[in-house]
């Protein structure tokens, strides 16, 4: 993995560059490595949920079990965290989870491009969640949705202050939501690349960085799954606020 860096010049951020697949400039519609890896994400998700579950057997095969468990896991999460009436948004949340999960996992394939390491991607995801949930809150509850910021259990004098704090924290949500995911993905991949670069530079002790990269990969696999989980469960929490704004 480190050979293409050429000696000591480790360039850990090169892996994040957006490149056109067939050369030329990157305009908004150009097929790029983003296109490729996002398409693979869709394929992987479809492979699990459609090809894996194609038997529709009463006693499931391993792949069908995995598909059913993924379904059950997200379904239960939506039901438990956001409430029973949130189940109608289950397909949306499931789509979100599948995209982040497979983008993270596929990003761990050597030479892969990690779409979720880009703030542009995660910000669009987080802002979509933020605006959908906020719009949903106003549509379902009208101005009562603002009760989310007006904490009636607090002393009256404190309420405006608390409302301001609540409002700020509400608006900061998409920032933390998106930067958490992109940051975790980018940091892990960059560190892996740096360690891999050391392999050529360390001569006889070349096995040390390899061991480090191996350990790091195990950790990164964990991070990939956890970040997908965190992103999804936070979406459910925000959805719960929109459906039930009273605390």
């Amino acid at each position: 993995m480190a050979d293409n860096n050429g000696g000591l010049a480790i360039r850990p951020m090169d892996q994040f560059e957006v490149k056109a697949l067939f050369g030329g400039d990157v305009s908004w519609y150009t097929p790029t490595n983003v296109t490729l890896w996002m398409a693979l994400t869709v394929l992987a998700a479809s492979a699990l949920m459609i090809y894996g579950a194609r038997g529709r057997a009463l006693v499931p095969s391993r792949a069908q079990s995995a598909a059913e468990m993924t379904y059950g896991f997200i379904y239960k999460m939506v039901e438990d965290v956001a409430g029973k009436d949130a189940v109608r948004f289950f397909p949306h949340i499931f789509t979100l989870f599948m995209f982040v999960f497979f983008a993270n996992i596929l990003g761990l394939v050597p030479f892969a491009f990690t779409t979720t390491s880009h703030i542009a991607v995660t910000a669009v995801l987080a802002l979509t969640v933020f605006f959908s949930v906020t719009a949903l809150g106003f549509i379902l509850h009208g101005t009562k949705f603002l009760g989310l910021f007006w904490i009636s259990s607090a002393p009256l004098a404190l309420r405006p202050v608390l409302a301001l704090i609540e409002l700020i924290s509400y608006c900061v949500r998409p920032v933390s939501h998106s930067i958490r995911l992109a940051g975790a993905m980018m940091a892990g991949h960059a560190v892996a690349k740096v360690f891999a670069g050391f392999t050529a530079a360390m001569g006889a002790a070349f096995f040390l960085p390899i061991l480090a990269v191996t350990a790091l990969y195990a950790l990164e696999l964990l991070v990939a799954v956890i970040q997908a989980y965190v992103f999804t469960i936070l979406t459910c929490v925000y959805l719960k606020d929109a459906l039930h704004p009273s605390h």
Binding site: I10, V34, I50, Q64, A182
Partner: protein, 172 residues
């Protein structure tokens, strides 16, 4: 993230010129993925899960039904067994009574026969005894006459007979 500063060119993540491209393909991907999941994958998996739940529920119901049937069969078996026992008891009782009756009849018959035979035997013994008595007196009379003749005494037949008869009666 400290490495980024050392590498010079900066973070590709902050290269705004690639944002429209990424956002465009992300939106395309999400729309495609949403339709594939919500129209194809999720209904299929949901149907399989619902099927399985249905089958399990109906299997449990069937098992429950079979259990009830087995219990009913067991009850019927015990009932039939008890009835058969009672019936057998009744039959044994009836057979015993019948046998007793027959036995009694046979005994009575046998007793009657024995009594008849006994009476007959007694009668014949009496006959024999009587005839023996007669013969004894006859022989005695003859013997007495012969003895008297041997002694040379002229025996009057009638007085000899009376004397022997009296003698026999006394000796008897």
């Amino acid at each position: 993230m400290a490495e980024t500063a050392a590498t010079g060119p900066g973070m590709p993540q902050l290269d705004i010129s690639t944002f429209p491209n990424q956002i465009f393909w992300l939106v395309v991907t999400l729309v495609v993925l949403y339709f594939v999941m919500s129209r194809v994958a999720l209904p299929r998996v949901a149907a399989v899960l619902a099927d399985r739940r249905g089958v399990i529920t109906s299997d449990i119901a069937t098992a429950e039904e079979f259990k009830h049937k087995a219990q009913a069969a067991e009850e019927a078996y015990h009932k039939a067994l008890a009835e058969a026992r009672a019936e057998a008891g009744r039959i044994v009782e009836a057979a015993k009574a019948e046998m007793q009756e027959e036995l009694d009849a046979q005994m009575a018959k046998a007793d009657a026969e024995i009594a008849a035979r006994t009476a007959e035997s007694e009668r014949r013994i009496q006959e024999i005894r009587d005839s023996a008595m007669d013969m004894v007196s006859e022989v005695s009379k003859d013997a007495t006459k012969d003895i008297l003749e041997l002694f040379g005494a002229k025996a009057d037949a009638r007085s000899v007979n009376a004397a022997v008869a009296a003698r026999l009666k006394g000796g008897a």
